[in-house]
């Protein structure tokens, strides 16, 4: 056991780079060991399932086999990767014919699929080790007065939820409260951000982004906190277009929950990738402005 088999996925190497940086920084600060799964390949994502389900399963299965060989649980911060890996595992149990084809193909590559490699999301892991109480002890710069909209996105809530009761869970809210920030009521916390639609059917995608942002603003949030690189990207990169189209002047920063946590733990913003954001997050300045006003 060399700690979690960290599976960043393709997005965390590109547009979601600050998620990668902040996950690594927070895990290091909290003393939870992780080591990248060597030579991992793309999980297949949603695009692949549109071409062929079986090859999509094969792509995910290779990663499961690599983690099985290493003997560590997979840590997948990207909900899309989390879903595809989990779905593959479940379907290969459920459909023995597909499993057999994949197992045989993997054998040709000298890989053994194994059974039930645990696939976990950082929210789950950190809520157990070190656990919220231990994290609370380590908070150095509480984000007092910051109002945050908690946004889970789709895939941590369904169809394979990371918690037992996805309708009533507060796992993300609990993390936000630990940082000292305030959670605003956010009814759209598991509503879809539009996924790839912003890139392929612009009209529909922008509308979905707008609905989510408008609600966050209406609740008086000063930041949206996400757990997904695609949600973060959509809500940030298309925010200007989506809001301008609807006559809204305000803008709202969109952060990863690991970035919020990292800031409260006293980690430098640069280590958390905050300089990569298109809509800057400056809580100190905001608090200052409010104090003066």
């Amino acid at each position: 056991m060399s700690g979690y088999a960290y599976y960043p996925g393709c997005s965390l190497l590109g547009t979601g780079k600050s998620y990668d940086e902040s996950v690594r920084a927070v895990f290091e600060a909290l003393g939870v060991p992780l080591q990248e799964l060597e030579n991992w390949n793309c999980c297949g994502a949603t695009a692949y399932s549109s071409i062929d389900e079986c090859t999509a399963f094969a792509l995910a299965a290779r990663n499961l086999a690599l983690a099985h060989r290493r003997g560590d649980p997979i840590l997948a911060p990207c909900p899309n990767c989390y879903l595809v890996l989990t779905k593959t595992q479940r379907y290969l149990e459920q459909y023995p014919e597909i499993r057999q084809r994949i197992v045989q193909t993997l054998e040709r590559l000298g890989l053994n699929l194994g059974h039930d490699v645990p696939i976990r999301h950082p929210l789950q892991v950190l809520s157990e080790t070190p656990g919220l109480e231990a994290i609370r002890q380590k908070i150095q710069k509480p984000l007092k007065g910051l109002r945050v909209a908690p946004y889970y996105g789709c895939l941590l809530a369904r169809p394979y939820p990371i918690v037992e009761d996805p309708w009533n869970t507060t796992i993300l809210e609990d993390f936000i409260r630990v940082t000292g920030a305030e959670v605003v009521p956010y009814a759209y916390r598991t509503r879809c951000c539009g996924g790839a639609l912003t890139g392929v059917v612009r009209e529909a995608g922008l509308r979905m982004v707008y609905i989510l942002l408008r609600e966050a603003l209406r609740q008086g949030a000063q930041a949206v906190v996400t757990t997904c690189p695609l949600c973060q990207f959509n809500l940030e990169a298309f925010q200007d277009q989506a809001l301008r189209k609807n006559g809204i002047q305000e803008r709202i920063p969109v952060l990863y929950f690991t970035q919020l946590l990292g800031l409260a733990l006293g980690l430098p913003p640069k280590k958390l990738g905050l300089h990569r954001h298109l809509i800057p997050f400056q809580p100190q300045r905001k608090a200052l402005q409010e104090a003066v006003a």
Binding site: G14, N41, M208
Partner: protein
């Protein structure tokens, strides 16, 4: 004035199509649909669809192959799984949409203007080449295929992302032995009898 028959005779329906789709993983209970519409109500994109998810299920089941495979709906589905968890008879509607997309791509259906299909193909190729999907590479391919106006429209955002280090300008993410992933995929294609798009 030219008039056309607007209904379909039963003999023109493709019953086989319904059975084929029902065989894909997650679609086993297709014929148990009670047409309650929970899927359409849960769907955040249904307001843009030509056929709502409920109608897609009904028409697939009855064998309206041509109508279903040429619908915009299957390309609008953002795979959020809201329908899947709501279905009272356990139809994994998201998986049905995937099965329909696969068929549409394989049989050359689909409106040319919808980029969803081009995205899937660009993605597929990138992963086959490198084992990973470098976002810049996938996006460039997608918008190049889609046309110059798309490329130009995306350029300002691309530039911003590049400046913040979120889009590498030249490098490609590649696993150590992309051949291994290719072997994996080709093995399966052989078994299937050649199926890449």
């Amino acid at each position: 004035m030219e008039i056309q028959r607007t209904i379909k005779y039963e003999a023109e329906l493709d019953r086989q199509f319904a059975y084929e789709i029902a065989q894909s993983p997650g679609a086993e209970t297709l014929f148990e649909c009670i047409q309650c519409g929970a899927c359409s109500a849960a769907c955040p994109v249904s307001i843009y669809m030509d056929l709502t998810p409920r109608r897609v299920i009904a028409m697939t089941r009855e064998g309206f192959k041509h109508e279903v495979l040429s619908s915009l709906t299957i390309w609008l589905c953002s795979s959020c799984y809201a329908c899947t968890v709501e279905c009272p008879v356990g139809i994994k509607v998201t998986d049905v949409m995937y099965a329909l997309k696969q068929r549409a791509i394989k049989e050359g259906y689909g409106p040319r203007k919808v980029l969803t299909r081009l995205l899937a193909q660009s993605f597929f190729q990138a992963v086959k080449e490198d084992g990973r999907a470098t976002e810049r590479k996938v996006m460039l391919r997608l918008y190049r295929r889609a046309g110059l106006d798309h490329l130009i429209r995306m350029a300002p955002l691309g530039l911003k992302l590049w400046r913040t280090g979120r889009l590498s300008a030249f490098g490609t993410e590649r696993i150590k032995n992309p051949a291994e992933v290719r072997t994996l995929l080709e093995c399966l294609e052989e078994q299937e009898g050649g199926k890449s798009p």
